[in-house]
């Protein structure tokens, strides 16, 4: 329901922008799109094909760090650093041990959102699995490490099977139907 409101309001705002663009030729190229920036919610994708896997988390910075403004004092500075290091290290998820997977690469990006003071974080892990067929689940400890985070919406594609799931502190294990 919430999504359809989002889409609707997005459409309305697009229509509004189109009208503005028509009225003002100078604006006609200033096309802008707003991604969903939601506090408390993050989205995650996981794909496994052959030995290769990739896990990507996209979240508002506030979910991880606790705030989105520039750190004001040393304590905030330290908190931010600590939380970002934790996110980058990948120490917030573990793949089923039987699959024998290791992180082989990592990418991290911070993006200023369209509105001021909104920062989005992207973290991307490349993973290699020795026994990919045995990957039955991934468990997440991120909810206890980042208390501001409430939900993660997941889309996955594992050995050709696609699916969706929603994780929370109560349901923190992503199980794949085998």
């Amino acid at each position: 329901m919430k999504n359809s409101y989002l889409v609707l309001s997005k459409r309305l705002s697009l229509a509004f922008m189109a009208v503005v663009a028509l009225l003002n030729p100078a604006l006609s190229h200033a096309e802008e799109q707003h991604g969903a920036h939601q506090h408390g919610k993050a989205s995650l994708t996981f794909v496994l094909d052959g030995n290769e896997a990739e896990l990507v988390l996209n979240t508002a910075a506030a979910n991880i760090v606790g705030f989105e403004h520039q750190p004001g004092n040393a304590a905030e500075q330290q908190q931010q650093q600590q939380q970002l290091d934790m996110l980058k290290s990948g120490a917030w998820f573990s793949l089923a041990a039987a699959a024998n997977c290791n992180i082989s690469g990592q990418d991290f990006r911070q993006e200023q959102g369209s509105e001021k003071d909104h920062v989005d974080l992207y973290v991307n892990f490349q993973i290699l699995c020795q026994a990919p067929l045995k990957l039955s689940d991934i468990s997440f400890t991120l909810f206890s490490q980042s208390p501001a985070l409430e939900r993660i919406t997941v889309q996955y594609l594992v050995n050709g099977e696609a699916g969706v799931a929603e994780l929370s502190a109560e349901v923190s294990v992503l199980k794949f139907s085998q």
Binding site: N3, S4, V7, K10, R11, L14, E31, Q33, G35, T45, V47, L48, D49, E52, A53, E54, V56, Q155, Y156, L157, G160, E161, A162, G163, V164
Partner: protein
């Protein structure tokens, strides 16, 4: 010995037993049937999109996009530009792309404007490719390739001339009458919505709408276009396109890139994930349906027990005589249980037969109306467990009259009552 007794006793009361059997048959058929339809519909839907990595359309919800692009259900929110399609199709990670322009129909069957890649790359089921039953792919404008069900239902052969209509209703008042198409190919049956589709080239879609303004035909006759004009036709808009990727690992990265595509608001979906979302939404309805069916089944079983209990009165003498000629109380217990077993087994067999017949009869309608191809055999891995559970429940409930018979058999039966 006991079995013969049970059988003959049942035969003696065949009127009430038959009714019990019938109500059990219907409820078991309902249980197995709903379970079967649910699983088969999922299988049928999943096999349709098995070979496609991403589907791209104008920005909308993922279910909406999936339903109109693949299952021809509902309508597109918006069109997308052909130029952007070409741009994305030439992405280094993209192995193949199939464009689709929807919006026209032929006697209720949807028309898809596409190109030769559709026949080359579209995969369904276990990575099966589309095959031609007759003829070949369209090579130019005013040529059409029919899905198996379209050709069969409308009785078209190669070379037939057909008229396309604007819009997707079964009856259309705006027909592209002046520009007939000839059938050049008929596809082999696939068991997917492809069977219900009429395929033409993107240029053909452009040709029949040439000179139209805002969805209405221009006044006067649109003559068949000259060779010169046909060559100049360029597709401008599409409804959606399917993508096959070189590496599945890139799927989400490409999806993200398309969703963030700056020039046009687009949505890319993973068909499997969109379907999973659909099943999640329907799970509650499914469970309610199964629950209701289960309750119907239990009601039928209780009905059976009631009939058996009611029969106890009239069978008191029968039981007493059996006891008098040497039957032990536990034998009487098993006699009733055997009767229950006979009734439940009988209703199971007749339920499966009924269901097979029903499915076989409904298949043509389901496949032509809903594009669902359902197997006529309602048997799955867990069907045996379901039936075993039913059997156990029947025997447990059957134990009530059996036990009462066991208790009362001798004591009351031989008394002469006035």
């Amino acid at each position: 010995m006991l079995l013969t007794l049970a059988r003959q006793s049942l035969w003696h009361r065949r009127g009430t037993v038959l009714m019990t059997l019938l109500s059990l048959t219907i409820s078991i058929a309902l249980l197995l049937g709903i379970d079967h339809l649910r699983l088969e519909a999922k299988r049928s839907f999943t096999s349709t999109v098995s070979g496609t990595d991403l589907i791209v359309g104008a920005r909308s919800g993922q279910l909406n996009l999936l339903l109109y692009s693949v299952f021809r259900l509902g309508n597109a929110t918006n069109n997308i530009s052909y130029q952007h399609y070409q741009q994305l199709a030439s992405h280094p990670q993209v192995a193949w792309a199939i464009p689709m322009a929807l919006g026209d129909s032929h006697r209720g069957f949807r028309v898809i404007g596409t190109n030769g890649d559709y026949f080359r790359y579209f995969r369904y089921g276990q990575q099966q490719q589309l095959a031609f039953a007759q003829g070949q792919a369209f090579a130019g404008v005013y040529q059409v390739v029919l899905g198996a069900a379209v050709a069969e239902k409308l009785g078209y052969q190669l070379g037939a001339q057909i008229i396309l209509s604007h819009g997707v209703g079964a009856v259309s008042f705006t027909q592209h009458k002046d520009q007939p198409f000839s059938v050049v190919g008929i596809l082999a049956p696939t068991g997917t919505p492809v069977d219900q589709s009429v395929h033409v080239s993107l240029e053909s879609i452009e040709a029949i709408h040439l000179g139209w303004q805002g969805g209405t035909p221009r006044l006067g006759k649109t003559p068949k276009l000259s060779e010169e004009q046909l060559k100049k036709l360029q597709p401008k808009v599409l409804t959606a396109f399917m993508l096959g990727l070189k590496s599945k690992v890139a799927t989400f990265a490409i999806q993200r890139q398309i969703n963030e595509f700056k020039a046009e608001p687009l949505t890319a979906i993973l068909p499997g994930a969109a379907l999973a979302e659909l099943w999640q939404m329907l799970a509650m309805v499914e469970n309610m349906l199964l629950l209701v069916t289960l309750l119907v089944l239990i009601a039928a079983l209780i009905g059976m027990v009631t009939t058996l209990l009611a029969a106890m009165k009239e069978r008191q003498r029968e039981m007493a005589i059996l006891r008098a000629v040497g039957a032990r109380p536990w034998q009487l217990f098993w006699l009733i249980e055997l009767e229950v077993l006979c009734i439940s087994l009988g209703s199971m067999v007749s339920a499966i037969l009924l269901l097979c017949a029903g499915l076989a009869a409904a298949r043509p309608v389901l496949s032509s109306q809903y594009g669902l191809v359902i197997s006529w055999l309602p048997w799955h891995n867990h069907s045996a467990i379901l039936l075993a559970a039913f059997m156990t429940l029947a025997l447990l409930l059957g134990a009530i009259p059996s036990y009462l018979t066991y208790r009362q058999s001798l004591a009351q039966g031989l008394q002469v009552r006035l």
